[in-house]
Symmetry: C2
Subunit: 116 residues, 2 copies
């Protein structure tokens, strides 16, 4: 299984996208069953445009992918990105456990442009 790696900017986008309950709910929905943007919009008490923007945020974070089907845009989850985020958190936990074997790579990547 190829595990996609997240660069720092991509990690920013993924976690920022997941930091909104509506967007998490959208991800949960399309994980179970793909849906058109309009079908998603019908499920929430906000304008279509608001939902469409949420989907765009998820798309930019590669948490969902859109696929045109007729005049509809079908949204489905990109589980690889979710898995990459989960793996990142697992690595943080291993960092805590003291298993810093190869994890330095992760840190080196994460620290790029941060340290003084």
């Amino acid at each position: 299984m190829v595990v996609r790696e997240l660069d720092p900017a991509g990690t920013d986008r993924v976690f920022a996208a997941l930091a909104d309950a509506t967007r998490r709910d959208i991800v949960a929905r399309v994980l179970r069953r793909e849906a058109s943007v309009t079908a998603l919009a019908d499920a929430y008490a906000m304008s279509f445009a608001a939902v469409q923007k949420h989907v765009a945020v998820l798309e930019r974070a590669h948490l969902v992918v859109k696929q045109r089907r007729g005049r509809e845009q079908i949204v489905h989850a990109d589980v690889a990105t979710i898995r990459a985020a989960a793996r990142l958190l697992d690595q943080y936990e291993e960092l805590w456990r003291g298993r810093v074997d190869r994890i330095e790579d992760l840190l080196a990547a994460e620290q790029e442009g941060n340290a003084s």
Copy 2:
């Protein structure tokens, strides 16, 4: 092992806190070794106040805990919250796998106040 559950608002705070590279770096640092706020601030090319605010954000998300020691405030990671976030992502992945056995609870909690 008691796994702390994240309510929707708490999940917002955790992912929002993790959506910043500086804050992820701070978490990684204190996972390996606890550090005072000033010691952390010395590691970044920004003002002390900026770092102090980052630590405050992490603290509100319960990703770190501060403990006063003399006139210093020692920051250490709260690995339980990281684990809770990782578990949440794992549950999303299981949702995708079709293992919706008991996961409905997760969704029910997450959907509160979202669905129309």
